[in-house]
Symmetry: C2
Subunit: 363 residues, 2 copies
């Protein structure tokens, strides 16, 4: 049931530049995929968080407003691109589970998690020489690598300042999360170009790269909403599962996503020699694939589009993409199981819609 919306929009319209609202885009994407029920639930979520999300964008738009240097320009450039804001939405909803609306402290926490995420994107693009991000040239392409490193530093430090209205334990937890993210990034860097199917190394990387930040977002929101410790712990497990699902879908999108939707070049991970779940599965199943993947990643700049297409076809043919989607759905089930133990109400419904969106997302 693809409608007119499916016609690729001109880039400027598909990716509005200035802190646009996120939910209509997600709802439209869901409708396009025929997930009308989910689209409706997202619109309910949007109504619930309408004011919070507006205030969040306003908060993000003010980040570094007084900073005049090129590194701030680079940071603001990325922040103004419309992201999914999945992590701040987790903060907002977890706080609401405890009955706390999006007041200043909650909004600052929500902005903080988006800032940490944006900072890692900026540094990642420098480390990986990524050229395109959120449907536009990466900050490092526009402002240079040095400005992008320092811009990421700006955002990181700003995140640590914004979180000061939260309890000290929440502040310290954020520093620990950043530590884990750096470690995961370093582990990934070290393993680059190795497709020897080390499942544990992959799980370590995605835990640190993605899951810990979802974990923190939900637990910070829960702590601000003054939920009991047992429920905050449950939110942590929900975050782990949701983060893993998110990353597994990301892995799939890298191989079969539409760059016009994802805002990133196709097969970026593949080209960069990054271990992803479908590649691990396919390496285990297709003889000789490990060597071909390594050779493809080593070619780097000299991209062989025909070989890329053959690799993607082989990964698909052995069922690795479908099994990765299945793995993501299993993590989604884990997340839903945790959700069931949390207080019923509109916030829980909305979190359920977030889980479904993460699994259904095409960008």
């Amino acid at each position: 049931m693809r409608d007119l919306d499916a016609t690729p929009l001109p880039r400027s319209a598909a990716h509005p530049t200035a802190h646009a609202e996120v939910m209509p885009t997600l709802a439209r994407a869901s409708r396009r995929q025929g997930l009308t029920g989910l689209a409706e639930r997202l619109l309910t979520l949007r109504a619930l968080l309408a004011d919070d999300l507006k205030a969040l964008e306003a908060t993000l738009a003010e980040v570094g407003a007084e900073g005049q240097d090129v590194a701030w320009s680079a940071g603001r450039y990325l922040l103004a691109r419309p992201g999914k804001r999945a992590r701040p939405i987790c903060v907002l909803l977890a706080a609401r589970l405890g009955g706390r609306p999006g007041d200043r402290a909650v909004l600052d926490c929500a902005a903080s998690v988006e800032l940490v995420h944006a900072a890692t994107l900026m540094h990642d693009d420098v480390l990986d020489l990524g050229d395109s991000r959120r449907g536009a040239p990466a900050a490092r392409v526009v402002y240079g690598n040095a400005a992008s490193v320092l811009g990421g530093d700006h955002l990181l430090v700003d995140a640590l300042r914004k979180v000061r209205s939260a309890p000290v334990a929440v502040q310290h937890a954020l520093v620990d999360v950043i530590a884990q993210m750096v470690e995961a990034e370093a582990l990934q860097l070290e393993r680059r170009g190795r497709f020897d199917g080390d499942r544990q190394a992959y799980l370590d990387v995605i835990a640190g790269k993605t899951a810990v930040l979802f974990r923190w977002a939900l637990q910070a929101g829960g702590a601000l909403g003054e939920l009991p410790a047992e429920q905050v712990a449950r939110l942590g497990r929900l975050g782990d599962a949701l983060g893993a699902a998110f990353q597994l879908v990301d892995d799939v999108l890298d191989l079969e996503g539409d760059p016009a939707e994802t805002g990133k070049s196709a097969c970026t991970d593949l080209r960069e020699g990054k271990l992803t779940w479908p590649l691990i599965l396919a390496s285990e199943r297709v003889p000789g694939l490990t060597a071909r993947l390594a050779a493809f990643a080593q070619a780097e700049g000299d991209v062989d589009d025909a070989e890329a297409a053959r690799l993607v076809a082989d990964v698909k043919a052995c069922g690795a993409l479908a099994d990765t989607r299945a793995e993501a759905f299993a993590r989604g089930d884990d997340a839903r199981a945790e959700l069931a133990g949390l207080p019923a109400g509109p916030a829980r419904e909305a979190l359920s819609a977030v889980i479904d969106t993460v699994l259904a997302r095409s960008r």
Copy 2:
């Protein structure tokens, strides 16, 4: 009164590799320069802090001990090179001004400031493509740029974790300091290659690049030593003055320092197009120099040693180096004036020796 010590030592002896004690090296350097009185005072300082400095090196040697990744290797590589440890010594002495010895919390704060300093060195060397640091190839040369960026991130995060035993205000102040350091670095990046003699831009850069960290070190120590607020404020001003003096001497050493002593290549700032005080003064005095400096910095890889020597000679001839030393001494006087208002005793004597060492240093 140069003695046998003045014979250049083999690099391995001049730059011992594994967390050696700092003070004997400084004392030897002072003796070499005929500053026998200062050498004696440094040995007194060394006796006062002997146990603390040993414990500091042990603390630094344990940083990232469990980290297995290449980014930790890069971080540990730099930390193990013998630095001057000027900033941690400031923490230790300021705490002692309040009668607090180097207990765990004080040592962690002292290690923390060295970690922040080391992190900025690692990032700077990536941004500036610096090849040599502390008398050895820079971490980025040995481990690569990406590992060096992430290694710096590791050290920064570890600094924020180590400082947790300090009062929350001290922790927050450290984040603010890092924010200022990033801003100064970005400002410097933006102005690279411009020698238009903007004195204010220079002062902004050195305040953020160097002075704020000395300020924090002294104030954190003072707060841990439970000095009255008025004296902590005084320590802040002392830090500003000491940091400015430190940077001005750095500027001089870049142009006339002996690479075997400084552990850095000669004329690094000059090649990188970095605005330094002697270059600002010389640009104001020598017609046509601004254009020559800009042209020299633009040549980058293609270094013209003869032109470098001519530039240094011209900067010297117009008195800019001597006047920069004089400016450093004036800042030293400011620092000493603040010192006079602090509690008398061995810690104050030792801080006075630190000020003199900063002014006399050749590395």
